[in-house]
């Protein structure tokens, strides 16, 4: 049996505590392993460390022979399923669309949702679902990559049963056994006895290990057609108008405020370019419009595991800042393609810097409490230099 999940000598600190110290775990193909134990004993830490979401003080996490993260800072990605304690779903994603994005393939989503009594919600936004229904989508997002894969892959589930009704737990237990029959390796944390009974091995914290012989399932691969998910951020931005509501309005407000005091056609060369480019700078300072959506339910963590670049709408920021620059150019009656391109590029550059800074604080316990705006005044410098060069 091939080892699909290999956690080697894991040492992880969270807050001021060392949660795992030299932890080892190998999970073979076709094996379901359940981690159980009291709250706070480190079960979720194992899942998050295995998924590469935590910095490792020592050791490494490998999934399907790919190093996901190690203490030397190496990182990698591979196709595996993940469901964290937070549902990691954005409220503005559609139910069916979310599962297709998770699968990165086309398959019969409706039938799958029908089995989970969610078929009628296929076109609804996840935000409109109840907590339990949302949990089902989070769990299915983790299971779908394995359900459509003929090659054995790993699935990591952190308390998938939380918030699920009894019928759904029965379906989940059966599905876990069916996936194991297909060779997939599953690591689950749970307190639920039905899920514990479905495991080949139960590891209880602080540490004891028990082997079991659960029922054997039947794996029927879901028919699917490979497709790549593209433009998720742009799709979400169009649906939510987040780019207009955040970046666009900021740019228009700056333009409007300037017009209250300035007559553009009486401005000198330097002030004229400052006037034309200021709305793009203000729009860019709001960063990526999708970033706030990604913070909902910790969705950024799930996307981090899937893609090196999370969903974003930078292309819209570029276009929006270009449009704002065209508008301010029209008001100032000064038409220059280089200035318009400069405005679009300035807005994009500013938004990228703000977004990188925002992503850098996501590991904190209270990322929204950090005053990141304190670091943004430096972004006036490229605007001022650009104005100086153009004039």
């Amino acid at each position: 049996m091939a080892v699909l999940i290999k956690l080697e000598d894991l040492t992880v600190r969270r807050g001021r505590k060392e949660v795992l110290n030299g932890w080892n775990l190998n999970i073979d193909s076709a094996e379901v392993v359940v981690l159980s134990g009291e709250n706070g004993c480190g079960k979720s830490t194992v899942i998050e460390a295995a998924a590469g979401l935590l910095n490792l003080e020592n050791g490494s996490s490998k999934i399907q022979n790919q190093t996901i993260r190690d203490s030397e800072g190496r990182r990698g990605r591979t196709n595996f399923g993940l469901c964290l304690q937070n549902d990691c779903v954005m409220g503005d994603e559609l139910v069916g669309e979310k599962l297709l994005d998770a699968a990165q393939a086309n398959f019969d989503v409706k039938s799958l949702l029908d089995e989970w009594k969610l078929g009628h919600r296929i076109n609804d936004k996840i935000a409109f679902l109840s907590g339990g229904q949302r949990r089902k989508i989070a769990v299915l997002s983790a299971l779908v990559p394995a359900m459509i894969s003929a090659q054995p892959i790993a699935v990591l589930l952190d308390e998938p049963d939380s918030g699920l009704d009894d019928d759904s737990i029965e379906i989940l237990v059966q599905l876990l056994r069916d996936l194991a029959a297909g060779g997939h390796a599953i690591l689950v944390t749970s307190h639920n006895q039905k899920i514990i009974n479905a495991a080949n091995r139960v590891i209880s914290f602080p540490f004891s290990e028990k082997k079991q012989s659960p029922i054997i399932g039947t794996f029927n691969k879901l028919e699917s057609k490979k497709s790549t998910t593209k433009n998720i951020g742009l799709r979400l931005n169009i649906r939510t108008m987040s780019g207009f509501a955040n970046n666009g309005i900021a740019g228009l407000l700056v333009l409007g405020s300037m017009l209250a005091f300035v007559t553009p056609n009486q401005l000198g060369s330097e002030m004229l370019f400052a006037f034309i480019l200021a709305p793009a700078l203000a729009a860019g300072l709001n960063g990526d419009p999708i970033f706030k959506l990604l913070q909902e339910n910790r969705a950024h963590a799930w996307w981090y595991v899937r893609k090196a670049t999370p969903p974003n709408a930078f292309a819209h920021v570029f276009l929006g800042c270009g449009l704002l620059t065209i508008l301010s150019s029209a008001i100032a009656n000064h038409w220059d393609a280089i200035v318009i391109l400069s405005g679009a590029t300035l807005g994009l550059f500013t938004a990228i810097v703000v977004t990188i800074l925002s992503h850098a604080t996501l590991r904190l316990a209270r990322p929204n409490a950090v005053m990141l705006r304190l670091l943004t005044p430096i972004l006036i410098l490229p605007w001022a230099i650009l104005v100086s060069r153009l004039s």
Binding site: R16, T361, R363, L364, A365, V370
Partner: protein
């Protein structure tokens, strides 16, 4: 030597006061034509030493951040905490005195196109970000790693700030010490030297006291956790 930090801080403050007094009453005024506002030039005896002390603090911040991030040394985190506070204090001294001089000499307090002004202000804002940000978070490895990362990358601004007036002299004056173009006479140089030494002592004292305070705060938190485990 438990009070070394406080003693050095007091000595540094006294020296800084002496520098101000000498600068305003003893050091000669500039008479060269290059200055629009020669009287305002005396701010220089406060501005330059505070800038030097700020650069020293930012360098120590980099050492503390790097040693914490890669070696997990507890003293390094305390150095990060103390030097970010020292960098904020001296950075603000430098920025405020600079804007006062700029208003008198250039007619405007700030120039957004000047690289030196902006990168230095950015370093000061980075210190403010680190000080306020740290207070908003529970202490832990995630907090320390995140703010250390900002401390490490922020250091890139130090050489950029240092060389800014040598590469792109836009509005901020170029170097006056250790260059052939310097316009300092010996009395001016002496007051500036006293200022630089005083601010160095002040910053070392402040950082030693700050590190001790950070150590006591962390010890207090540990004792609180142990107490909570017992009850």
């Amino acid at each position: 030597m438990k009070r070394l930090g406080e003693v050095l801080t007091l000595a540094g403050l006294t020296g800084a006061g002496l520098t101000l007094w000498l600068g305003f009453t003893w050091a000669p005024s500039v008479t060269i034509e290059a200055f629009e506002s020669p009287e305002a030039q005396k701010i220089f005896y406060w501005h330059v030493p505070s800038a030097w002390a700020a650069m020293l603090s930012f360098s120590l911040l980099f050492i503390g951040s790097t040693m914490w991030f890669f070696k997990r040394n507890q003293w390094a985190w305390r150095l990060h905490v103390a030097s970010s506070e020292a960098g904020l204090a001296t950075g603000l001294m430098c920025v405020v005195s600079g804007t006062i001089w700029g208003a008198a000499e250039w007619g405007i307090p700030w120039d957004w196109t000047d690289i030196r002004l902006n990168t230095f202000a950015m370093l000061t804002l980075l210190s403010l970000f680190l000080v306020l940000g740290r207070r908003s978070q529970p202490d832990g490895i995630e907090t320390r790693d995140t703010f250390s990362t900002f401390g490490m990358y922020g250091f890139l601004l130090v050489p950029l700030t240092y060389f800014a007036t040598r590469i792109w002299q836009i509005r901020h004056p170029g170097p006056v010490v250790g260059t052939s173009e310097g316009s300092l006479n010996s009395d001016m140089g002496l007051v500036l030297l006293i200022g630089a030494i005083s601010f160095t002592i002040l910053i070392i004292g402040h950082i030693i006291s700050g590190m001790r305070l950070a150590h006591l705060e962390l010890r207090f938190e540990d004792l609180t956790s142990k107490y909570e485990e017992l009850i």
